[in-house]
Amino acid sequence: MLHVPPHHPMVEMHVGDAQRVLANQVYGRKPGSPLWLPSGTIIGDLVAISAPNSSYATMDVRDVASDGTTPAFPLNVLDFDTTVIEYTYFEGFLSPEYPGRGVRLCGQVLFSSATANSAVLRAAFYRIASGGDDVDSAPTFDFNSSGAIAANAASGVATDFTIDFDDGADMDSVGAGEAFVLCLQRKIDDANDTAAGDLELRTKLYLVTR
């Protein structure tokens, strides 16, 4: 068997993802180079929510029904109106192992009333780096949209959604190990945003590699 260390130029240029993962495990990585992570690896946790001073999505709970023996329990959700644009902000950081291929925001929604049609969410990063932007200056948000998030035949059935960001300016150049704020809004004027009533965003979001 040919013994080629993972930082050998041949490896850098020719091996596939599975081999890179194996190389990481067997040899460790080349100092200074990012760990190779396959698509779908969680690399960011969105840890807290801050509501804006106005036009905020409303905190709400959606009770999961009791089965008769165990009590009902609440799911925390944020209600986004269907006729007025509302916002919420999540704080988070990218893993130091972020490999630099962009990120995918993953989450889940329910609908307050809609049993048909769809909604659209959009999100933008705001990088908060040491020595970076002055938070007293107004940021510029570069929003990316989800596709149509379809309501189900029962409003309490959840639907997954994703929003993709390319590495670099598309995600405000947030880098490995850096903090950020993620702005989220319902895009009520989108052609695919047709669902009546509120969109209920579950408050647990995360980022994965692309």
Binding site: D79, D81, T82, T83, V84, S112, S113, A114, T115, A116, N117, A154, S155, D193, T194, A195, A196, G197, D198
Partner: protein
């Protein structure tokens, strides 16, 4: 008097909030709900005198029953088929109340 567009918009927004708070299921799109509000407002405006007279006599409910088909026709499709009887009734009452309160 017919609601101004901005007021129709506000009425439609409040109706969306109401169904959300009640978690009232609807397969109707928000655009169809908007058309339903507009259609019913036009209907109430066209029949306001008769409705106000019926209300003064305490016969508004009977008037609504007698004119059920016409009220239903005032709601454009697909909302006409998708809204429940209760939802239509609520909308008619709310639009009429708004027009009556406005002193039109």
């Amino acid at each position: 008097m017919r609601m101004p567009d901005a007021e129709r918009l506000g009425f439609w927004a409040r109706y969306n909030q109401r169904i959300s708070e009640l978690r009232e299921s609807t397969p109707c799109s928000k655009q169809s709900l908007r058309a339903a509000v507009n259609g019913l407002d036009d209907f109430v405006e066209a029949n306001l005198s008769a409705m106000q007279a019926a209300e003064a006599n305490g016969t508004l409910r009977q008037w609504a029953i007698d004119n059920r088909a016409a009220i239903n026709q005032a709601i454009p499709q697909p909302a006409r088929a998708l809204l429940t009887q209760d939802q239509k009734e609520f909308l008619v009452k709310a639009v009429f109340r708004r027009n009556a309160d406005d002193g039109a």
